[in-house]
Amino acid sequence: MTTTTPKIDLSGDPRRRTKERTVRALFFAAGFISIIISIAIVLSLVGEAWTFVKGLIDEGELGSLWSLGWFPRRGLYDLRTIIVGTFVIAVIGILVAAPLGLGAAVYLAEYASPRARRTLKPVIEMLAGIPSVVLGFWALSFIGPEVVQRIFPSAGVFSMLSAGLAVGVLITPLVASVSEDAMRAVPSSLREASFGLGANRVTTTIRVVLPAAISGIMASLILAFSRAIGETMVVFMAAGAVGGALFTVNPLDPGQTMTAAIASLAIGTDQVAGEGLAFQSLFFVGLLLFLMTLVLNSASNRLVRRFRETY
């Protein structure tokens, strides 16, 4: 009664299958490289950062992490100075970018005609394409002398204010494009419902569209803040204090940020080599910077995913 099925091989040409497996393995390897780079970043930072901390403990100099200022060549590694400097500049940047970027985003998403949008959006993208070294130069040659010193004659050419303003210009397109995406993701049925109840465009924008897009807007601001913290060239060129800085919260003073501290130490690497722990301190600061931006970016990613899921 048993029927024997004829044996037919449906799996195809074995060479073809081998090829499939090889190709798949290659693509997987390409994907896995991202994990390797992530691990390499963490390891390269943690290794030298640990040497730095251990060195300070061995010398009994942990107190130098909380001292007069950031003068790594003299063994003063006051973290307050560079962390506060970073935040002062990032906050000024956000104060510039939030109104400019959000205003532009609301106009483009809710008011502009499709034609105006098609011409205005590439211009904003053009602003986004300007490299930070150019804005650094402009902060030094224009914002410092022509803007900051006109308003505050007591300020020097280098100040945290002019660096912060330039950082604001740098992150404005980011705020504009991410929050515009968030507002355009709000379904038009919500707007139509509001118009149907007799609300005008202002009310619809403020009471319906903005609340619906709030997680995306918050995400854009957090992302911009994280970018401001990680920005190097503008701050390095315009905030002054290349060799070191005293602790200050006054935006009119020159200041030092974490990124600028890394860059200025790195440029003088040859002189630093063998001079105590200055070289290793670079990696410790790098690790702090990496962790801060990691936390901010994860928060922003989570918010973006939320507004994508809702609609």
Binding site: I37, Y111, I130, S141
Partner: protein, 319 residues
Amino acid sequence: MAERTSATQRATREAVRASLEGKRTEPGAVIFKVMLLVMLLSSLLILVVLLADILIGAWPTMRDRGFDFITSGLSLNPETAGVWTGIIGSLIIALLVILLAIPIGVGAAVYLEEYAPDNRLTQWIDTAVRNLAGVPSIVFGLLGLTIFVALVNGIGLGGSTEGKNVIAAGITMAALVLPIVIITSAEAIRAVPSTIREAGYGVGATKWEVIRSHVLPSAFPGILTGTVLTLARAFGETAPLLVIGVATGFFSASSDATVIDNLTGPYTALPVIVFSWSRQTDPAFAATLAPAAITVLLAILFSLNGVAIYFRNRFEKRW
């Protein structure tokens, strides 16, 4: 009495008609719209002032030197200094980015979009890519300094700079832009509708054959646009190069240097020239040569962006 009622009625009718026909102007609405427009226009104004300021600064050099400024190498004399050394350095870095980051990035995007099973490992890769995209560029410089410089030195390409050369710079820049390549390519691949794939499977093609003959050609315009924008990014990035030992001062290659000597020797890049000239003590460099170098840099970046926009419009497919 009757007349007064009709006057009120008339006024009411007018008011209702006006509001129905939308001729009513609310000051609040106008102010809001003007405010938004002011915000948008100030961003544009900043762009215009920035470009004008730089072009005015660059004009004397551009007028007097012309192409000579582009084709001259570094020099301590502001009369003869040019950006050629930086253009060459940036081009070699861009070439290494194309050779390394584009194949690996597109490959990773194909894996994530076409192959990856929904498991823990895929989530890790996904998280790694998204986090890497947000890592400050200077941190990639630190990565390059500890790992890629040593790697280049280890495989015998260290040369006179002990690994702090343009090869290490290219690898570092490739790692920096890799997440962007992956994200933009993945978006382009995701936009290919599944019917295109099913058409391929329907005639008996294997997965790789479908990807090669259907998915990648359909996603090609998007990938190309992303690639060009990535190159623009690599051209403008400065901070990581400073960390991995790009030359910020004057140097010149000896006349009998071979190609290998030049690749493994000191190097500079176009944005680094902008940086180092703007902090020269000789004011001629900061006031006139730096804006001229910026003009060259921006001209390259804007043409790359223009090429990207052209590709997007020329090859864009609507499904």
